[in-house]
Symmetry: D4
C-alpha cells in the first residue's frame, strides 16, 4: 500500500486519519522517495546483487543468496569468500568460485558484456585484487580487458598496449609498492582512471600506504582512488561509469 493508496482511502473514509498517520510513519521509505534506491536496486537485480562474504558463515551466505535468487536475481556476486566456505556453497547450490579473486557467483548465467574496461596491474602479485575488480565488473555486465604485469619499471610492456589502453572507457590501475602505474596511465589515457593501491610490497610500503599516497598525489588529471586492496569497489565503480549513457538531448 503506497502513499497514493493511503490518501485515497482517507479520502474515501475507509481509513481514519490517525491510522493513516501510523502507516505513513511505518513505511516512509517505501513511498516517500527514500526507497527509490532499493527500488532502483531491485530493478537491476537481474544484472548482479552483491554479498560481502567475509565475516559471514556459509549458511548465512547460502540463505541470503537463495532469497535473492527466489526474488528473481541471478549472477549473485559474493566477494571475499574463503575457499572452504566456497566449497560448501558450491555443493549446496548452483554456484561457481574463483580462488584467485575469492569471488563466487551464485546462479551464474550467461549475459552480454558491454563497453570496455581495462584492468591493469603493476605486477603479478596484484592479481587477486585485479581479478576481484575484473570479475565484479564482468558480473555486473561490463566487458573487461586484463593487462597484467605492466609496471613502470619496464615501460615498454605498458607502451606496447597503448592501443588497448586508449580505447578503454574506464581504466582500473592496480599497483602496490610505489603505485606509479596510476600516474603513468593517467598521462596516457583521457578516460577516468580508478586507482587501487595494493598491500603488495615490504618494508616502507607499509601495507599499501606508499602506493595509496602515490596515487592520491598523482600528477595526472582524471585519476581517483579507492581503499587499499579494494578491487570490488574499483570494479563496481568502473562498471557504473562504463555503462553511463549519453546526456539526453
Amino acid at each position: 500500500m503506497d502513499v497514493k493508496n493511503i490518501l485515497e482511502q482517507v479520502k474515501n473514509g475507509t481509513l481514519s486519519t490517525d491510522e493513516a498517520m501510523l502507516q505513513l510513519k511505518a513505511q516512509p521509505f517505501e513511498d516517500l522517495g527514500y526507497a527509490k534506491i532499493d527500488h532502483h536496486r531491485a530493478i537491476r537485480q537481474g544484472a548482479g546483487e552483491v554479498i560481502y562474504g567475509a565475516g559471514k558463515t556459509a549458511e548465512q551466505i547460502i540463505g541470503i543468496s537463495r532469497r535473492l535468487i527466489d526474488g528473481g536475481a541471478n549472477n549473485v556476486l559474493i566477494t571475499r569468500l574463503d575457499a572452504d566456505k566456497a566449497e560448501i556453497l558450491c555443493k549446496k547450490m548452483d554456484a561457481t568460485y574463483d580462488p584467485v579473486s575469492k569471488i563466487a557467483i551464485a546462479a551464474p548465467q550467461d549475459q552480454p558484456h558491454v563497453g570496455n574496461i581495462v584492468v591493469a596491474t603493476g605486477g603479478t602479485s596484484d592479481m587477486p585484487v585485479a581479478e576481484e575488480a575484473a570479475l565484479t565488473a564482468e558480473t555486473l555486465g561490463s566487458h573487461v580487458v586484463r593487462l597484467y604485469d605492466v609496471g613502470v619499471a619496464g615501460l615498454h610492456r605498458l607502451l606496447s598496449h597503448l592501443d588497448q589502453l586508449q580505447s578503454a572507457r574506464v581504466v582500473v590501475a592496480i599497483a602496490g609498492r610505489e603505485g606509479a602505474l596510476a600516474s603513468v596511465l593517467g598521462g596516457l589515457v583521457d578516460c577516468p582512471v580508478i586507482a587501487v593501491p595494493t598491500s603488495v610490497g615490504y618494508g616502507a610500503s607499509f601495507g599499501g600506504v606508499s602506493a595509496l599516497l602515490s596515487m592520491l598525489n598523482s600528477c595526472s588529471s582524471g585519476v581517483s582512488v579507492v581503499n587499499i586492496d579494494n578491487g570490488f569497489g574499483a570494479g563496481y565503480l568502473a562498471n557504473i561509469i562504463n555503462q553511463m549513457e549519453s546526456i539526453a538531448e
Copy 2:
C-alpha cells in the same frame, strides 16, 4: 610529415633510409601513437585548457595564456591563482577572476553547459574547494548544481535535496572534519561519487587526513577519492564522467 609520409618517400626514393631512421626517431610521438594524447587535447582546446597558477609568475601565466589563445583556445582555466597575480592578469588581458576558488578564466566566452553534476559540501568553509571543483567543471562545459552546507550533522538539510541528488550524473562530495558526507551521499545515489577531503577542521583532523581516511573507507559503493583540497581534480574528473557517451552499438 607522418610515418606514412616518411615511408612513402622512402619508397619513392626521395628519402634515404638513414634520413628516414633519423626522422622516425626525432618525432616518435607525433606519429606512432604517443602523440595521440596531445592531439586529442588539441582538439578539445576550444573547451578549456588548464594552467596551474601556483608557483608561476603573473608574466609566465599571461605568456602561456596568450600562446594558447593565439592557438585558438578560449575559456583558459587558471587554478590556484593569488589575488595579486590575478589583478595583473585581468589588467593585461581579457580575463575574469573568482577570489573564492582562486580560479581565473582567460578569454572567457559563453558556452553551453551540459549534463548534471552536483557539488555538495559539508560546511560553508569547504566552499573554496567546492568552487574550484564547480568552476572547473563548468569551464569544461558541464552543468553544475551547488548544494552547500548539507553536512550530516543536520541530515534533514541533505534529505530535502534528495531529488536533485538522485537526478545527478556525477556527485562531488566535499567535506572536512569527519568526511561522513561521502558515505551518506554514496548510499543515497547510484551515480559515481567523487569524494574530496578538505583541510577544514582542527585538532585530530590533521589537515584533512581524518576526512581522507573516512572517505577511503566509505562503506558505500561507487565512491572514489582525490587528494585533500583537490577541487580541480574532482571537477576535471566529474566533467569527463558527466560527458561520457553511451556505449556505441
Copy 3:
C-alpha cells in the same frame, strides 16, 4: 577505627599522640576521603563488579570472583574472557558466558533494567564490540535496545528507527571503517552519544584509526569517544549517564 575514633582516644588519653600519628599514616585512605571511592564501589557491589579477563588465568578469575561473591556481590562481570577459560569457569562455579562479547557473568541473578540505552552498529561485524557494551550496561542495571547494521550507506535503515533513537537517554554508536554513524546519530538525537570506533575494516582503516579520527572530528555536538573496540568502556559510561538522577532541588 576512623579518624574521629583516633582523636577521641587521644582526647581520652587511651592513645598516645605518637601512636595516633602512626595510625593516621597507616590508613589515610580509609578515613580521610580517599577511600570514598572504594566504599562507594562496595555499596554498588550488588549491581555488578568488573574483572578484566584478558591476561588472567582461569584460576585467578575464579579466585577473584569467589572473593567478590563471598563479599556479597552478584552479577560479577568478567570481560575479554577466552572461550576455553570460560568453559573452566562455568564448570567450577555458577556462571554464564556469551561467546560473542566474550563476557561471563558469575553469580548471575535477575535484576531490574532501568532507563534506556540504544546500542547501534554500522555493520554486523561490529557485533562483538556492541554486545560487550550492551551486556556491560545490562549487567550494571540498564535497559538496552540493540539497533544493529544500521550503517549510513543505507540511511533508510537508520531513519526507520528514529523513534527508538529519539527516546534514548544515551546512544552508543559503534562503527568501523569510516565511522560516520556517530556523526549521523549525533545529528539525530539530543542525548549524549558515546562513539566506539571498531577495528573492523581493511586497508586504510588502519585497525580502527580511520573510524577513531572520524568520530573525534564529528561535526555533531554531544558526541564523545572511547578507545578502539572498547565496548566495555562505552557500556560502563553509558550506564552511569543513564542512571543519573535529577539535580536535587
Copy 4:
C-alpha cells in the same frame, strides 16, 4: 500545515490526493519526525543557541545573531571569535566578549545555573580551552566550578580539591602534554569524565596527539574523549549530562 492537517483536508475533500502527495514530499521534516530535532532546539532557544564564529565575517555573525534574537533567543553563544570581529559585534549589538575563551554572548541575560560541573586543567596554558568549556556550559545553564593548574606532577594540588571533585555531576578534564589528568581524575570520581586533550606542549606532544592517545587509553572507567582543543564540545556535552533528569517512574 502538518501531516494531520493534510490528512484531515484530504478527508474533508478540501485537498486533492495529488496535492497532498506533493505537500507531504515538500516538507517531510516539518511533520514526519525529522523536524523534531529542530523543534526541540527551538524550544530550548531561550537557554542558548550556538554560532561557530571561525570563518564567518562579523556581519554574518551579527546577522545570524539578530535573527535568532528576533526569534526569541537570548544568551546566543558565539565561539572561536577573533578579538577584532568581537569588537565590531559588541559595538553594533548587545553582547559581551571574553578574550581568553574567544567566546561572545549576544543578548546576554541573567539565568539560573544548575547542577555541578567541575572543569579541571593540568596547567595554566590550558585555560583558553577550559574557559571555552566553562562558558559554554554556563551559557547553557549549568553551574561550573573551575579547578585550574591541578596537574598530576603536583598531586597534592589535585587531592586538596577532592571534596569538590567528588561532589561533581560531571568532570571535564583538560590537559596537554601527557594528558595524565584524565586518568587520575577518572580514578577519583564516579561521575562521567569528559577528557579534552589540548595542543599545549612541544616536541613529541605533536600538537595534542600525545594527550589524545593518553586519554583514549585511560585505564580509568567512565572517561570519554573529545577532539583536541574542543572546549566547546566538552562544555556542550557536560551540560547535557549535568541537566539529565532521573529515569521516569
Copy 5:
C-alpha cells in the same frame, strides 16, 4: 705489548720504527684508550655480564656463557631467552631461568644487593617487563623493591606506598596504556625516574606508542624514557645510577 712497551723497545733499538708503526696501527684500542671500556667491563665481570638471547641458538648462548665463566665471570645475565632454549641451557650448565622475565642467569652466585631501586608498574600485565628490569638490576648488584599494580586509576594504591617510593635512590616506572604512572611518580619523588612504556593495551595504544608519548611529555621533572618494553635497559641504567658514588672531595 702496550704503547709504552713499544716505545721502550724503539728507544732500546730492539724494534725498528717501521715495525713500531705497524704495531701501533694493529692494536690501537688495546693501548690508546679505546679499550678502556672493554677493560672496565672486564673488571666488572664478577658482577654480571650480559647476553642478548633473542636470535641466538641455545648452543651459541652456552658457548658464550662458558667463555665468560672461564674468564672468571659469574651471574651471567641472559635476556629475552625462550623457554625451550632455557631448558637446554639449564640442562647443560649451571643456570637458573625465570619464565616471566625470560631471563636466565648462568653460574648464579650469591652476592650482596646494595642501594634501593623501586620498580613500579601500572598493572599486572606489565610484570614481564618489570621483572626484566628488576632481575637485571639485582643481578648487577642492586637492591630492588617491587610495587606492582599501582596504576593511577586507583591512586590510593600508589599513595599507600609513599614511604617506599620516597626512600628510593632510583624509581623505574613501568606502564602501558596511557602511561600516566611516570608523571605521577615523577611528581612524588625527587630521585631520577626511568620510565618504561610497555606494549600492554589495545586499540589506540598502538603497541606502546601511547604510553611512550605520554612518558616523553611528562610534566614532571627528573623523568627520562627508554624504548617500549625495554625492561633490561631500564634495569641496567637504574643499577648504574643506584651505584653511583659521591662526588670525590
Copy 6:
C-alpha cells in the same frame, strides 16, 4: 601547626576533636607526607627554583620571582623566556639573561659547581638546547663541560675528547637529524647518558622524530631519552644524578 601539634592540643583539651578533624583535612599535605616534596623543595631553594617562562607575562614572572626571592631563594631559573620579556625582567629586578638558551636567572649569586657533567652536541645548531641543559645544571650547582659540534660524521672530533667523556659522571647527548651521537657516546662511556633529540634538520627528520626514534632504539646500554628539544629536562635530571651521594653504609 602540624599533626603532632594538633594531636597534642586534642590531648590537652585545647582543641576539640571536630576542629581537629577539620584541620587535618585542611592541610593534609603539610603534615601527612604529601608535603614532603614541597618541604624538600623549600630546603633546596637556595640552590635554584624553576619558573617555566613560556606563556607567562613578564609581570607574572617578576611576581613569582620576587615571592621566591623574598622566601629566601636565589639563582631562580627562568626557562623559555623571550628576549622582550627578559628585557623587562632585567630592568625591573636583579637578573641575568642568556639569549641563546633563553634562560634568565633572577637574584644570581656565585655558588660552587660540583661533579662533572658533559654536554655534547652533534652540531652547532643544537646549541640553544645544549645551553638550556648546561645552564640549568650549572644553576642547580653542577659543573658542566661543553663539547659542541662533535657529531658522528667526523668521528675524530669526538674521539679527541675521549678523556673528558670518560671522566664524566653524566653525559647529556644532544643531536638532531639522525641522532646517532647518543648511541656512539653510550658505547664510549660507562656513566648514564641522557639523550636529547632536537628539532634540528629538515625533510624526513620530522621536527625531531627521527632523532627521537634513533635515541630510543639506541643499541648502547645506559642511554635514556627526554622530549624533543627538552634541554631543561636533561639538565635537571643530569644534575640530580651528578649530585647523588654514595649508598650509605
Copy 7:
C-alpha cells in the same frame, strides 16, 4: 628484422608501406631505443639474471630459470625463495641455495669477482639482509668483504677495520634499531655508502622505520638509502657502482 631492414625493404619495394607501418608498431622497443634496456640486459645475461622468488610457485621459478639458461644465461639469481621451494628447485635442476639470505643460484658457474664492496652490519641479526646484498653483488661479479656485527655501540670493533673500509669502492651499511652505522661509516669513508635499514629491533623501532629515518637524515655526505630489508637492491646497486668504468677521455 629491425627498422633499417624494414626501411630497406620498403625502398626495395619488397614491403608495402602499410605493412611497414604495422611492423613498426608491432616492435617499437626492439628498434627504436626502448628495447635498448632489454638488449643490454641480454648482453649481461652470462653474469646474472634475477628472479624475484616471493609469490611465485616452484614450478614457475623452474620454468623461468630454464628459459633463461636455454637462452645462454648462467648464475641466475633467485631471491626471497622459501626453503621448501628451494628444495624442489635444487632437486629438479642444477642450483645452489643459501638458507640465510634465501637466495638460490641456478646454473651456478665460477666467475671472477672484481672490485671491492664492503658489506657491514650493526649486529648479527642483520645477517639475512646482509647476505642477500653480498650474494647478489657476488653473483653479479663483484668482490665482497663482509664486516658483520660492527655496530656503533662498540666503536672499536668498527675502527679496527678502518683499512678495509677505506679501501672499499662501495660500502653497504646494514643496520636495524637506530641505524647509526650508516652515519658513522659515511664519516669514515669517501666512497658511496648505500644504507639498508633492517626490521631488526623492537618497540619504537617500528619494523625498521627508526633506522630508515636515521639513515635518510644522515649527517654524513655520500650516503643514500634503499627500502627496509632490501638487501637485493643494495647489492644490485653496489655492483653497478663497483663496476663503473673511468670517464672515457
Copy 8:
C-alpha cells in the same frame, strides 16, 4: 710532527717515551689513519669545499670561506644561503650567488667538468632542489645535463630525451607529489639513479613523504634515495659516482 717522526726521535733519544706517549695521544687522527679522511679532503680542496649556510651568520660564513681560501681552496660551495646573507658575502669577497638553488660559490674559478650526470625533475617547482644538486655536482667538477619538467604525467616529454638519459653515468631523479619519476627513470637506464623526493605538493603529499615512500618502494633496480629536498646530498653523491675510476687491473 707525525708518528714516524715521533718514533725516530724516541729512537734518537731526543724524545722521552713518556712525552712520546703524550704526543701520540694528542694527535691520534693526524697520524694513525683517522686523519686520512681529512687529508684526503685537503687534497681535493682545490675542487670544492662545502659550507652549510643555514644557521650561520654572514660573518661566520665569510670567516670560514676566507680560512679555506687562504688554505688554497677555491670554488668553495656554500649551500642553503639566504639572499640577504648572500648579498653581504658577495660585497665583502669574491663570490657568486644563485638565488634559485640558494648556493654561493666563493673564489669561483673556471674548471673542467667531466663525465655525465643527468638531473631530471618532475615539474618546474622542483627546480630549487634540482639546481642545488646540479650546481653542487658542477662545482665539484662534474658535467651536468638538466632535464626539467619531464614528469610521468606526460610520458612523451621523458621519452623524447631517451638518448640523453641512456648516455648518463648517473641520473638524479627529483620529484615531489607521487615521485613516480624515479621508478620510470630506473626502468629506462642502467646506471645508478639517485632519487630526491621534494616537498612540492599539497594535501596528502605530506611535505614530501608521499614522494619519499614512493621512491623507497621503487620497483626498479639501481635506485637509492636521499632525504626530502636534499639536492646537495644527491649532487655530492652523484659527483663521487660520476668520477669513479675503473677497477685497477
